[in-house]
Amino acid sequence: MTILAKHAAQRLVYDTLHSHGVDVEFDSVLSPTEGMLNGRRTILLGTNNYLGLTFDPDCIEKSVEATRSQGTGTTGSRVANGTYGGHIALERALAKFYGREHAMVFSTGYQANLGVLSTLVGRGDHLLLDADSHASIYDGSRLGGAEVIRFRHNNPDDLYKRLRRLEGAPGDRLIVVEGIYSMLGDTSPLKEIAAVKRETGAYLLVDEAHSLGVLGATGRGLAEAAGVEADVDFIVGTFSKSLGSVGGFCVSDSADFDVLRLVCRPYMFTASLPPGVVASTLEALVKLQAEPELRANLMNNAKRLYDGLCAMGYQTGPQVNPIVAVAMPDQETAVMAWKALLEAGLYLNLAIPPATPSNVCLLRSSISAAHTPKQIDTALALFADVGRQLGLLPADRRRAGGVV
């Protein structure tokens, strides 16, 4: 009996997964799409590296230069000694990119949600979360003391019903949705959500973690793609996906935005981003805007994988996006399929409840603009082999009708 005995159930899951060897440790990473794993060259199909910028020579150069000239870390909070010119430049660049007045940079995307959600609303206010929200949104909602109400995933009618039930109650209402949901790759019905927001006088926050650099004519995300940027009061996002580094941000036109810097504890009580990270992120943001072909490649690659899996008869998420998830019948099969793919040289994410919606077990891929068509075709061939070996796909037919 130890102090951790209370987590016995989770321990059992951990031990089971561990015994199947699901802990992955890369010997080295060779490029945005390849790494060495157990001495084998492996295609990386689950790294959220949407634009493939982690090895961009200019981003690396800027990062090295900043590290050499400014050191490896700031060793301090943004409100003390941790604000350098680079942090301010990155905030200005983000505000300009989004066409907003204000931007604030956090040390991780998780902290951005924790900080923003816990300070925009507090005791006496109402936070309305999509039921499939990311853990950082749930955790942020608990930190602030607002009343938290869940609405059915991607269901504007259910959201409306819940806001109507709040009629007459004092306090602000804040609706929180995500641009692309991280497990199945489905987008929020943002036009309809924005209409509910307008009708009920609520505020709207969109987490564009997986949609920045992916959706919208200039890559600003789902709000841009859906044409409702004016209705979105706050956008939160991360640098650790399409921008290839680490960190989080919030942009807004809210007049008194800067007060957040003094009331937002996950912003204040942590060290700021190291200069090398800030510098590569700034450069990646330049690339994102200067090279729209990255987004086009990304979507073409996503479609190639999604269509290929659907044609084989795999059950995937509801729409084509760079996150392509395949449903497995149960955890045991999911682990077996995941291991077989890995041993054949394909890495992707094994996703099991409670991290997944509807308690489904998933093999979750994320596509990069840097993948070649050949790599995707290799991945598809491996999916076909493993699917037939495990009886997930019919053995004698190469094509089974779409199942989605």
Binding site: V148, I149, H153, N154, L166, G317, P353, P357, S358
Partner: protein, 98 residues
Amino acid sequence: MRQTPQLILVGGSVEAAEKTPRDDVAAIFEQVLGHPVKISDHTDIVEDLGMDSLGVMNFVMAIEDFYDISIPLDRIAQIQTVGDLIHAVEDLRSGTPT
């Protein structure tokens, strides 16, 4: 695969009005679990009825629809037994502050 079955329950009929809250709750449990259940105020929703977190969420949403209320997350976290649930529903319906 995204869709979870949504329960459409019609509340507010004459018959429903004559039932006790526990009858309504039992009926909703039956719909979510797919088989009849015997419940009392002391029935533990997770332990005795074998519900996982997804089952609890679907069940809570069905209860919310039936009574036209929203049960805040912190309130849900405090609910362990059927008695706790009925108490929370009654509080929320009468507008008693938590």
